[in-house]
Amino acid sequence: MAEPTITLNVTRYRPEKDRAPTTQTYVVPYRQDWVVLDALNHIKDQMDGTLSYRWSCRMGVCGSCGMMVNGTPKLTCAAFLRDYYPQEIRVEPLVNFPIIRDLVIDMTDFMEKLKSVKPWIIRKEEKPVSEGEYLQTPAELEAFHQFTQCINCMLCYAACPVYGLEPKFLGPAAIALGYRYNMDSRDQGKDQREIIGNHDGIWDCTFVGECSVVCPKHVDPAAAIQRSKVDVTKNWFQSILLPWGQR
């Protein structure tokens, strides 16, 4: 009996020769416990060494292997062939990002946006390390913990039509990261993260909600954004009605 196989249709783009991306078809062995990444590695190792893509941990924690699988942004290390077999699988680079080569996209904009929300603890006064930790109750930790789970895989940006249509939009992961620090009881820098409340921050979001649907770590950036909207609005009213409260 012949070994079962599955067909992958993979985007190729070699800037030195190609004007635009094309599709290349590969027929790979089908294994019940293989993920799309295993198939790509098989292609690269055994069939076509010229296929380029990013990957690393293969356990869903490094965020490197995000690609479109049959039109949905997925981590290829978590997309099992058995969920598609015997249908063909389309593997394409994440949408809404420029393509560098084959399945590799340009992350520059994403990295800049992450940095722009000042994702670090900002304090009015720092405590020396010798004085020990800042106290934080389990409840306070719970308030922001889910938003620390982001692996920077950018699937949410690929899922967000607003980001696709308006590249200036800060985007789900960046806002969720800003929210994570705003909600951390040890942080005192909310007023320095005004970029979140700006025009291209939360207000570009129309709550399509697809970012939270595709997030492999259940960070729920859509919730972070909507809650930020409430928060920012509340602060705005407070600053208007109770200006002295700012001190």
């Binding site: 356990m59 390390v129 934080q136």
Partner: protein, 522 residues
């Protein structure tokens, strides 16, 4: 650090766990600075799990006498990484060269002058000049076929230092983590045992009690049973396998890690990632079924030889973390010491490197140019413009991994180690004949894979040869032909120096301060 703990106790646990091969001055410095570094990370936002009173929590971990391991749910490394990375974004003076692949260290007049790298975006070889260079490229687990390690852990920094004349220390000591998923090698954290998980053989028996780690208790007891050190637990697994008491599956032998008695609430609170990984990758929900696990390569105790200030014997070159071997971990590392090591020795390396750079003279531009041109020529010849060839990169890589598993696995003997050393030499030759299909300059990952394999072959050779020369069993290096520890002859570190015909092995005494070697019994 809690009241029931002490620096000496942490030091003793570490030295004992290292089977007395750790340099005790390094351990003493380490335990002293560890608490401060962990708090520093807390100040930098690390979401440590907390006690009700708001203090950072501690838990039990393998080989530790008391609860002292801080944790951030079951993803401590992940959270340390992100906290550190995000904090680094604050400082404009920190400039990253993302996706530039190290190809060599630039050395002139006995001093390091920077590095050469391939900028993956453009495919060009570039010089990054620097008065100090710190190597922190992680371990090299990918020289083995089953490993918890990511694709990028190919020993690049270790090999680069080795090629620049720096010895690699204690390379034979490779840690097998007792609980990885069969097939993928995905790590099931030691925390699952810290929280009370049990290891059972195919008869449902907690077999560790047969190997001097008993008596079995319902809740975890420090240093006993499932909280024993990793090397011992991995050996117990192999012995169960030899007795025919392990399960057999499509990826070979495995045992069960049973978490059912912990209950859904504890699992969701303390081990949520474990539940996710088991469900996704082996279709097991640990709340209802035990997880199949087996030992997989996880960590290299050995690495670039440094002193306790992260300095190597090459002026201007420093190393820290898994890449380095101070030696803090000796012949076997205790869980949670590695992440802490990164913080303590990362800090020390940074300070040493900065101090050195502030007094060093900048490298001469012309000299750098010349070195860079040589490197470009080498890379063109061997990789970028390489024609012909008949060996697939993957073939050589897989054969290397296979021979490492056979000769340098958990149980070793003279014959199989010698065979592995010979095979690796042959693979080195065959590597000259690899096929590079991808001729494009933009994001050429095939060239990158070839460079990684090149590094891995060097690292693998140091592991196998160092192992062959150590005629004793100590820590994670276990030989069936020399089953006992031999302090008289081998209470010393192995140093592997590069020669064109393979590693030259020398030795360095272990620094003993206050803890005299004794029998390592748990």
């Amino acid at each position: 650090m809690r009241d029931f703990d002490s620096l000496d106790l942490h030091a003793k646990d570490t030295i004992f766990g290292a089977d007395f091969l750790a340099d005790q001055d390094a351990v003493e410095a380490f335990v002293q600075e560890a608490p401060g570094e962990l708090i520093q990370l807390e100040h930098w936002g690390c979401p440590w799990s907390r006690d009700p009173d708001g203090r950072v929590s501690v838990r039990s971990f393998g080989g530790m006498s008391v609860d002292r391991t801080l944790f951030a749910a079951d993803k401590t490394g992940f959270h340390l990484l992100h906290s550190l990375f995000q904090t680094s974004l604050k400082y404009e003076s920190i400039v990253r060269y993302d996706e530039c692949f190290l190809t060599s260290l630039l050395v002139d007049d006995g001093k390091v002058r920077g590095v050469t790298s391939i900028n993956l975006y453009t495919g060009k070889v570039e010089v990054i000049a620097g008065k100090s260079v710190i190597l922190c490229t992680g371990g090299g687990g990918r020289i083995f076929p089953f490993t918890t390690n990511a694709a990028i852990n190919t020993g690049d920094g270790m090999a680069a230092a080795y090629r620049a004349g720096v010895p690699l220390k204690d390379m034979e000591f490779v840690q097998y983590h007792p609980t990885g998923l069969p097939g993928t090698g995905i790590l099931i954290t030691e925390a699952s045992r810290g929280e009370g998980g049990w290891l059972k053989n195919k008869d449902g028996y907690r077999y560790l009690q047969d190997y001097g780690l008993g008596p079995p208790t319902d809740t975890p007891t420090h240093r006993k049973m499932e909280l024993g050190p990793r090397d011992i637990l991995s050996r117990c697994h192999m012995q169960e396998f030899a007795k025919g008491r392990t399960f057999d599956g499509p990826y070979g032998h495995y045992v069960h890690l049973d978490l059912r008695h912990l209950g859904e609430e504890v699992i969701d609170k303390k081990l949520p990632f474990v539940r996710e990984l088991a469900s996704k990758y082996v279709g097991i929900d640990p709340v209802y079924e035990p997880i199949p696990v087996r030992p997989v390569v996880h960590y290299m105790m050995g690495g670039v030889s440094t002193d306790i200030n992260a300095k190597t014997n090459l002026e201007g070159l420093f190393a820290a973390g898994e890449t380095a071997c101070v030696s803090l971990n000796g012949a076997n590392r205790l869980g949670s010491n590695s992440l802490t090591e990164l913080l303590v020795f990362g800090n020390r390396a940074g300070r040493s490197a900065a101090t050195y750079a502030s007094t060093a003279s900048p490298p001469a531009a012309a000299k750098i140019e010349a070195l860079a041109t040589d490197e470009q020529r080498r890379l063109d010849r061997q990789f970028l413009k390489k024609d012909g060839g008949k060996e697939k990169i993957a073939t050589i890589r897989q054969e290397m991994q296979k021979t490492m598993e056979e000769g340098a696995g958990i149980y070793r003997d003279e014959q199989s180690m010698q065979k592995t050393c010979n095979t690796l030499r042959a693979l080195r030759e065959r590597f000259k004949n690899i096929i590079i299909e991808d001729r494009d300059s933009t994001f050429n990952t095939e060239v990158m894979n070839a460079l990684e394999l090149d590094y891995m072959l060097d690292v693998a050779e140091t592991v196998a040869n160092s192992a062959l020369r150590r005629k004793e069993s100590r820590g994670s290096h276990t030989r069936t032909d020399f089953p006992k520890r031999d302090d008289a002859n081998f209470l010393k570190h192995t140093l592997a120096y590069r020669t064109p015909d393979g590693p030259r092995i020398e030795y360095l005494p272990v620094t003993i301060t206050r803890w005299q070697p004794e029998e390592r019994k748990y």
